[in-house]
């Protein structure tokens, strides 16, 4: 091989692969709109993206797995936590995490309520991007998937048609992702209260004088809590804010009635 030939190899291959790259870029642009639901990029989402950049979020967190590794990935955070929780968290992160216990604490970014709504809108939009199913399992901020979910394997599948088994499997699946906020171990409060002994707790609660909901028995209480988290606010700093539960409010729509019944059946076994 002569130097002239190796130069031709360099120039030819570089030119060829640059052209392929440009052609694929053009094709990607044809598909970006559909893959990213570009029609849902509202002015609020764009404003949220500016907040994301202005506050340098990416130098602690990852989003779509890109960024720094000092804080959790936020790709699916809007879906996992819901807007009421995120609103409350962003206003004062120290309410939810303790630097002595967790070793890290997000600084209070002093965001205005409008900026908070904008960045939540941005994160909600990011969560819907079709990115080939990444992450393959939910990346939790805190708490363990153990107990209450099937550790180490694929998302749990019900062993039978028994409502309790179906409900238990559903509890550990990433949507609705109950386990991400509720442990089933006594005294282990993640973001939401521990559900250990919930059947007994519910039994007592519907009879308590401060209960103003419509349920009359334990199963009814659990059902109501899933469908309408605001019906009764469990006391606790991270459970509610300004008279509103921080549990995502949409399970009444996203779950089938039979699924809610299965969850209730499972939770009623936690005595």
């Amino acid at each position: 091989m002569t130097k002239r030939q190796t130069r031709a190899f360099f120039l030819g291959s570089t030119g060829l692969f640059s052209l392929i790259f440009l052609a694929l870029t053009i094709d990607s642009h044809r598909q970006f709109g559909a893959l990213t639901h570009a029609d849902q990029i509202t002015p609020e989402v764009v404003a949220g993206k500016h907040v994301w950049h202005r506050k340098n979020c990416v130098n602690c967190h990852t989003l779509l797995g890109e960024g720094a590794y000092y804080a959790p990935d936020l790709t699916k955070i809007a879906d996992q936590r819901g807007a009421p929780y995120l609103r409350s968290f962003l206003a004062d992160p120290a309410r939810f995490y303790n630097e002595e216990r967790d070793r890290r604490l997000m600084p209070n970014l002093k965001l205005s309520p409008q900026e908070i709504d904008e960045v939540i809108a941005f994160l909600t939009w990011v969560g819907k991007i079709d990115n080939h199913g990444w992450p393959p399992r939910p990346i939790l901020v805190s708490g363990a998937a153990i107990p209450g979910s099937n550790v180490g394997g694929a998302a749990p599948q019900a062993a039978s048609d028994d409502p309790v088994a179906v409900g238990q499997a559903l509890f550990g699946q990433s949507s609705p992702g109950c386990f991400a906020c509720h442990s089933t171990s006594p005294g282990v409060n993640l973001v939401g209260p521990s559900l250990a002994g919930i059947a007994a707790t519910a039994e007592a609660r519907v009879k308590a004088p401060d209960y103003k909901g419509k349920a009359t028995d334990a199963a009814g209480y659990i059902h109501e809590s899933v469908m309408d988290p605001n019906a009764y606010l469990v006391p606790g700093a991270t459970f509610s804010s300004n008279g509103q539960s921080l549990m995502p409010p949409g399970f009444g729509q996203s779950l089938q009635p039979a699924q809610v019944d299965a969850l209730v059946a499972y939770l009623m076994t936690l005595k």
């Binding site: 360099f10 692969f17 694929l24 130098n59 602690c60 797995g65 990115n131 080939h132 393959p136 805190s142």
Partner: protein, 454 residues
């Protein structure tokens, strides 16, 4: 030093090394914050210390590249530099832009876009600096009417570096599209055109240090940069797997990323063959250490450790974990830091007026081996952290915070080996700034040349 104006390289190397020291400070601060709690987060939170750590790295490596080019181009084109004065002005503007960016970060003035955080006015200053630089090099070569392959590859790599910075000036409302073009700058720099720069500098050093035949070396240099671009251009796709692009990027990214180690392995073989053929007889043993070290370490860090997590079915689990930090640290060090330090140690005797033999000081060798050991240890510690994190957080499903707590011992190891590394950096700086000037054996005068300019 054959040409008087090569002396501008000294100023560039001095600035580069000072920033290298600064980078260590912010690196140590950042890893300490991983151990937590962080008592200074109110005025220096992690995002700022990490941003300064990475930005200073980019600035100082580029400063080193510029100094290396100002050293190399006059020698290759056999002429004085077109305008040393312009080169000093360029360095001044560059330093002001860099310092402004760092101070700005401390006060929250940032674009918050990973590795391209520079605020827009700073970005424009960077473009102006690159234009001054390329003009000065271009005029030097044009007036000399002499362009060797080695310097051609180097200058083309630097010119493409400037061109590929332009996508960084664009903004998009669609976050996926922003990320898509961000990688045109970041990936195509470090896994594309900077490898051209590294290849050009490596060829120059090997020719000078081993006396290898220029025709042969330059012939293979083309093969190496050809391989770099065959793999590197479409290898950009390994950053696209999970950001919302069409599915074909996964197959393309997996395949071409697997080819990326070839160019780095090529460089290691290139260095080995040069040494085998022509011996290791050059008196500047320290420059030999850094040169061969760069060829070997980049094959390991950039080549093999990159491949360790670019296959899509692996990356699906490791994406966004400490595995990336493992690869990133050793890759940057091996490919770019070491080649710049090789150029500095090679040029040092000329810049300081030493005999070539005078350049292998015990301090210099300690600086080399401490950095090697420190970086090797840091890479292993990041690897252990990354593997544990992937398993606990991504596979078992433990929360992020609990996982980080369980892998603290690895962060402690990063801190320990990082301190060892920083000690090596400190010794390198001490040698360059304090010991080397005192070892002068030759008079500080250089043969006047006819075409020298102010």
């Amino acid at each position: 030093m054959r040409y008087r104006t090569q002396a501008v390289a000294y100023a560039y190397f001095a600035v580069a090394l000072l920033l290298y020291g600064l980078q260590m400070v912010f690196g140590i601060l950042s890893i300490t914050k991983y151990l937590g709690p962080d008592p200074i987060k109110a005025f220096l939170p992690f995002d700022v210390s990490k941003e300064i750590h990475t930005n200073v790295l980019i600035v100082w490596v580029l400063t080193g590249f510029m100094g290396a080019a100002y050293w190399l181009v006059p020698e290759e084109s056999r002429t004085e530099l077109h305008s040393p004065r312009l080169a000093y002005w360029q360095l001044g503007l560059w330093t002001v832009a860099g310092v402004t960016a760092v101070v700005g970060y401390l006060f929250g003035w940032t674009e918050g876009n990973k590795l391209l955080e520079q605020p827009m006015p700073v970005k424009f200053a960077i473009v102006v600096v690159m234009l001054m630089f390329l003009y000065n090099l271009g005029m030097t070569i044009w007036k000399a009417k002499k362009l060797t392959t080695t310097e051609g590859v180097l200058v083309a790599g630097l010119a493409l570096t400037a061109i590929l910075y332009l996508p960084a000036l664009l903004t998009f409302d669609n976050y996926t599209v922003s990320i898509y073009y961000r990688w045109w700058t970041v990936h195509l720099w470090v896994e594309g055109v900077w490898e051209m720069v590294q290849g050009g500098l490596l060829a120059y050093l090997l020719i000078r240090l081993s006396g290898a035949d220029r025709e042969v070396m330059e012939k293979w240099l083309y093969v190496i940069v050809g391989l770099t671009f065959i793999a590197g251009i479409l290898g950009t796709a390994h950053h696209y797997f999970w950001i919302g692009v069409p599915g074909y990027w996964q197959a393309i990214g997996g395949f071409f990323s697997a080819l990326e180690p070839l160019a780095f392995l090529g460089m290691a073989i290139y260095a080995y063959m040069a040494m085998r053929r022509s011996g290791l007889a050059h008196p500047n043993r320290l420059a030999l250490h850094w040169t061969i070290g760069s060829a070997v370490f980049s094959a390991l860090g950039a080549g093999i450790l990159g491949l360790a997590h670019t296959w899509p079915s692996v990356n699906r689990w490791t994406h966004g974990t400490m595995i990336t930090a493992m690869h990133g640290h050793m890759a940057f060090f091996g490919a770019y830091v070491m080649i710049v330090l090789a150029m500095i140690t090679y040029a040092a005797p000329g810049l300081f007026g030493h005999d070539q033999e005078g350049s292998e000081s015990p301090t210099g060798l300690w600086a080399f081996w401490l950095q090697m050991a420190g970086m090797f240890g840091m890479t292993m510690a990041f690897a252990a952290a990354g593997i544990s994190q992937t398993y606990l957080e991504r596979i078992l499903g433990l929360g992020y915070l609990e996982t980080q707590h369980k892998i603290q011992v690895h962060f402690l190891m990063v801190l320990g080996t990082g301190l060892l590394f920083s000690l090596g950096v400190g010794l390198f700086l001490y040698d360059f700034f304090f010991l080397a000037p005192g070892r002068r054996t030759a008079p500080a005068t250089w043969p006047a040349t006819a075409d020298a300019k102010g």
